[in-house]
């Protein structure tokens, strides 16, 4: 844990914050989007905004896999879970996410579906081993970070001949989301680009361990946004903000890496090969808050389809309407703040989430609600 406390050191944090204060030019704004929910969580949990000068503003990005999973996919998971003999295994923070008409996995569980919380994909394989008479379906979600463990779990199940194991794949791709935010989505038009009010980006930390720098080059080249790959601890986040401020001041625009203790230029080639061997891109995938994005998600390759729960249980996707007057799409793009939404902290709270940004602790609305409401009250 010593390693962790170093990156939470108050003196170091203050020193870096002071440097940001000195170097940020008073005549300009610095709107920096932190991509990951992990960053958002750290910013609010440690109150980092209080250490930044007023003209350095954090814009909260879409990098929360739980938040961006659309109600339609959750509905499929529930339909699978309700089939006789099925045990649905999932990560804990999926349990409360609202699907159609606010129905969550927790509610489905209360109604009798056998839904179990697991800490890893390997735990789901163990469930399959221990319950040969049941069908174990692992609800796999996440960006590039959680995809390799899913691949390993499937390989393990195959090696053990566990015919009762399958995976409901919802893995999504970071660059596609970033591109959508920056206006490069399917339905892009010229105006879209002007609407994205961000000057620089804190890039994903754990995801980049797998992907390396390359997937973010387009943000610097096509959109002129500096990217700094940033760790999740408070000292990491502050140092990365300083690096973005410096790039902007020096009119540089490149992919830099603050998280050097974990991220190498090329990422993890073995993990990427594992992913490439087992998964291929879906033509298009719907994201909560961002809509349909081409080439933004993964599915199992034909040779692995025996493990595909969508095929095994024959469930089809249907798109479900999002809550009207929910501002999540604009919030996820950095165009609005949670408090700009009429529903925020009134109809939409962590107990009764209506939109993507409120469903997981890492969503920006949930972080605002849980950690930041005192700020609005004081303002």
């Amino acid at each position: 844990m010593k390693h962790l406390t170093e990156y939470r050191d108050a003196d170091r944090a203050r020193m870096i914050a002071a440097a940001i204060g000195r170097e940020a030019l008073p005549e300009r704004r610095y709107r920096i989007m932190e991509f990951c929910g992990g960053h958002t969580h750290a910013i609010f949990r440690y109150g980092l905004q209080d250490l930044l000068p007023g003209n350095v503003e954090m814009v909260h990005g879409p990098g929360c896999p739980v938040c961006v999973l659309p109600a339609g996919r959750l509905d499929m998971a529930m339909r699978i879970a309700e089939m006789p003999g099925v045990i649905l295994a999932t990560y804990g923070d999926m349990m409360r996410v609202p699907g159609e008409k606010g129905r969550s996995l927790l509610k489905a569980k209360a109604e009798g579906a056998d839904i179990r919380m697991v800490y890893s994909a390997a735990d789901a394989v163990a469930l399959a081993r221990d319950n040969p008479e049941r069908q174990i379906v692992f609800l796999a979600i996440g960006f590039e970070t959680t995809t390799p463990p899913t691949a390993l779990a499937i390989r393990q199940a195959k090696a053990e001949g566990l015919a009762n194991f399958s995976v409901f794949v919802n893995h999504v791709l970071t660059p596609a989301a970033l591109a959508a935010i920056l206006g490069q989505s399917d339905d892009k038009d010229a105006d879209d680009r002007d609407m994205v009010e961000i000057d620089g980006i804190l890039g994903p930390s754990h995801v980049s361990v797998i992907t390396g720098y390359e997937p973010y080059e387009f943000a610097t080249k096509a959109y002129g946004k500096p990217v700094v790959i940033a760790g999740f601890e408070p000292v990491d986040v502050l140092q990365s903000i300083l690096m973005v401020v410096r790039q902007l001041n020096e009119q540089r625009c490149e992919v830099e890496n603050q998280y050097i203790r974990a991220v190498g230029t090329g990422g993890n080639a073995i993990a990427r090969k594992l992913m490439a061997d087992m998964f291929e891109r879906r033509q298009s995938f719907e994201w909560r808050g961002l809509g349909w994005i081409a080439d933004s998600a993964l599915k199992l390759r034909p040779e692995w389809q025996a493990f595909d729960a969508e095929l095994r249980f024959d469930v089809a996707y249907r798109s479900l309407a999002e809550t009207k007057s929910c501002e999540c799409p604009a919030i996820l793009r950095g165009q609005k703040k949670p408090v700009d939404c009429k529903l925020f902290a009134k109809a939409c709270t962590p107990e009764t989430p209506l939109g993507a940004c409120m469903v997981s602790a890492e969503g920006s609305c949930a972080a605002y609600y849980t950690y930041g409401r005192h700020r609005e009250a004081a303002a």
């Binding site: 844990m1 609010f44 209080d50 923070d93 919380m117 979600i141 709270t349 005192h374």
Partner: protein
């Protein structure tokens, strides 16, 4: 309520090691179970009367009463078990009023097929906890439900204490300026349970802090410190208790992250599980709100007690129309401390 009756039949035959439906049917089998398991463990004069109630002497003044039901899984965990928890939980709830807990009732809902040895282990653990807390289990009840309709065993305890202050301690007495103290490290119990459930291994086993707090409270009250409110931060942890206080007192509460004692291994487990120690349950800690002028005296009194050695002053109450609980973080920023919206669920990334 059936009393835990005096033994009437023969001791239970060897081989009948599991609870059967007949053990709850009111006949001989039930009498034997009660005698062998509960009476043997709780043995005292009130139970020995064999009546359907306990009759207890009270002096003039006020009594404090509380009840709690325990439905935990696993039943046995590092640092305790459901039995110790059922005694200490109710002892603590009664003691938080400032009263001296004396008597408990114990109700058991047992699932058919539950191992009698485990039931004995639980009853003996309750007896030890009661002795340590200075309370007597004076009445009780046993029910058996069919297999699949319970989760091993559920226990309800109710407790009565005497000598409650005329103006009971409580959140409504908290005023702006009062100091907030916590009696020791937070998060131990919840993390012990979750780490055990998740099969997490650390260099040292994280143990539950399950303990009776009436002795610590007596020491605190004897110090003469003007104590306004006491509460044990069980489910929802420190953050829930502070929010309850802020709401009930119509005040804001500000705490300092650095001042909150957290065990290194609990901190580590919380990092792994994606939890915050201040949201995690405790079973042997209390939060005390005292007049600021007496904060140091209260701290000294708590630290002088074996269960309060790591006590700390963690913050103060102040006027705030929003009744927010806020925390100055280690890094120097401010954040809100909110209630949890449900069970603390681990984050995935």
């Amino acid at each position: 309520m059936n009393v835990l009756a005096f033994p009437k039949g023969k001791p239970m035959a060897r081989g009948s090691e599991r609870v059967e439906m007949s053990h709850g049917a009111g006949g001989r089998a039930m009498q034997r179970l009660i005698a062998d398991v509960f009476h043997a463990a709780f043995d005292n004069a009130e139970l020995a009367r064999g009546e359907d109630q306990a009759v207890l002497p009270v002096a003039a003044g006020r009594i404090a009463m509380s009840t709690d039901t325990f439905v935990i899984s696993p039943l046995f965990f590092p640092g305790g078990d459901i039995g110790a928890l059922a005694v200490n939980g109710t002892v603590n709830d009664v003691a938080m009023s400032g009263a001296t807990p004396l008597w408990l009732s114990a109700g058991f809902i047992i699932e058919e097929g539950f191992a009698i040895d485990d039931l004995k282990r639980i009853a003996q653990s309750m007896a030890r906890a009661a002795k340590a807390a200075g309370v007597t289990i004076v009445t009780g009840d046993t029910k058996v439900v069919e297999r699949g309709k319970g989760d091993g065993v559920f226990i309800n305890t109710a407790g009565v204490g005497i000598g409650a202050p005329d103006i009971p301690l409580g959140a409504a007495r908290i005023e702006a300026g009062d100091a907030i103290l916590v009696s020791g490290t937070v998060g131990d119990h919840g993390v012990a349970i979750m780490a055990h459930r998740a099969g997490l291994q650390f260099e040292t086993t994280i143990e539950s802090d399950c303990a009776p707090l009436n002795g610590l409270i007596a020491a605190l009250m004897a110090s003469g410190a003007r104590v306004k409110a006491l509460r044990d931060p069980t489910r929802g942890g420190l953050s829930a208790t502070l929010n309850e206080f802020a709401q009930a007192a119509s005040l804001g509460i500000g705490i300092i992250e650095e001042a909150i004692p957290v065990r290194a291994e609990v901190f580590g487990a919380c990092e792994l599980l994606g939890l915050d120690p201040i949201n995690v349950a405790n079973e042997g800690k209390l939060v005390a709100v005292v007049d600021a002028r007496d904060a140091d005296a209260a701290l000294a009194a708590m630290r002088a007690h074996p269960l309060g050695q790591e006590a700390a002053i963690i913050g103060t109450a102040h006027a705030d129309p929003h009744h927010f609980v806020t925390m100055r973080t280690r890094i120097g920023g401010q954040r809100m401390i909110d209630w949890l919206s449900g069970d603390p669920l681990p984050r995935i990334c």
